[in-house]
């Protein structure tokens, strides 16, 4: 099972109670229809990986290279493709076969990758958690400004990596080491503790946690 995860769609958040009566915030991820596409091998592709396909799309909306690729691996018209490095398919499963939510066990630790919500062009306070300037006492239209960006003639330039305003969000973000609280194999749902990047309806990649490989529910 090494390294194999699932692709899903973020459904939304809710809350459930554990046996001990603790209230837990959970994010629901729907993984139904996640299927194996291509198996990449070191000899042919330079590395070992398993490519999974997820989601539906009209065939006529696919460009022809993708159409050919998906047809070759019997993966149907998929919306998203994701690769899992060094992943091995479960026994008896090959190209085109669907994977189910019970790939993960309750209590297993996973990493979740998704595109975070785009915040647009954001100032330094929102983007880098700068402190805002004084509200009064003579402050002249500089409440949320970044202030000085460096020194004077020497060095005479702004150092690379200086935190400045710019695009925020809309990037691939990973939350590491989060627990799977419930697995609904019937409806192919994963309930993962806490929040997950991105808006509901977005593509989410769930893979075994890199941090706690040995301790996970199923042995890798």
């Amino acid at each position: 099972m090494s390294g194999l995860g699932l692709i899903g769609v973020k459904v939304g958040m809710t809350q459930i109670f554990s046996e001990r009566g603790e209230r837990m915030p959970v994010t629901v991820v729907a993984v139904g229809g996640c299927r194996i596409a291509q198996r990449k091998t070191a000899e042919r592709d330079g590395y070992d990986a398993l490519q999974l396909a997820f989601g539906e799309r009209k065939v006529k909306r696919l460009n022809s290279p993708l159409r050919g690729h998906l047809a070759k691996h019997q993966a149907g018209a998929a919306r998203w493709l994701r690769e899992f490095r060094d992943a091995v398919a479960p026994k008896g499963k090959g190209a085109g076969d669907e994977l189910s939510a019970d790939l993960f066990a309750v209590g297993e630790r996973v990493d979740v990758r998704a595109t975070s919500k785009g915040k647009g062009f954001a100032g330094v306070i929102k983007r880098w958690h700068f402190r805002s300037n004084r509200a009064s006492h003579g402050n002249s239209r500089a409440h949320r400004k970044p202030g000085s960006t460096g020194q004077c003639q020497d060095p005479g330039r702004v150092f690379p990596g200086k935190k400045m305003p710019g695009r925020l969000g809309g990037k691939t973000t990973t939350v590491q080491n989060v627990a799977v609280v419930r697995v609904d194999a019937e409806r192919n749902l994963l309930l993962i503790r806490g929040g997950i990047p991105g808006a509901p309806g977005g593509c989410v990649t769930v893979s075994p946690s890199v941090k706690r490989r040995g301790e996970s529910g199923k042995k890798g």
């Binding site: 459904v11 939304g12 958040m13 809710t14 809350q15 459930i16 109670f17 046996e19 009566g21 209230r23 629901v28 729907a30 749902l189």
Partner: protein
């Protein structure tokens, strides 16, 4: 009904499908399980419901205010929490607001709530 709503309904049903058969202004006794050095025992807490939140869904809660000799306490309970053994209505209060936060600035006689008498139908918990 979307999937989240459906899951919340199922979760509420799994936890016994408790329903709030009381309103703001009512005096209730809430019995909760507390873990006391490994042993589980029941503790009761009586007071006035000053707010209900979130209908009867899994995410719903209510606040119970207890005023006893100089010290007032407010506790939020989650309706579907498995730690709640039972909620019993002691007295129906006659109030005209859904949220009784104004009680916080009152004490003694000013914090009294008249009793609502002759309530025809009790709402039976499922």
């Amino acid at each position: 009904m979307n999937l989240i709503e459906q899951l919340e309904r199922e979760e509420a049903r799994r936890l016994g499908g408790r329903v709030m058969n009381f309103a703001a202004g009512d005096t209730v006794t809430v019995k909760t399980y507390v873990l006391d050095g490994g042993a589980r025992r029941v503790q009761s807490y009586e007071g006035v419901v000053i707010a209900r939140r979130g209908g009867n869904g899994v995410r719903s809660s209510f606040i119970v205010r207890r005023a006893s000799s100089g010290e007032t306490m407010e506790r939020t309970f989650h309706l579907h929490s498995p730690l709640i053994e039972s909620v019993t209505v002691r007295r129906h209060g006659k109030v005209r607001k859904a949220k009784l936060y104004s009680l916080r600035s009152r004490s003694g006689r000013a914090a009294r709530i008249p009793e609502k008498l002759g309530r025809k139908k009790e709402i039976k918990p499922r």
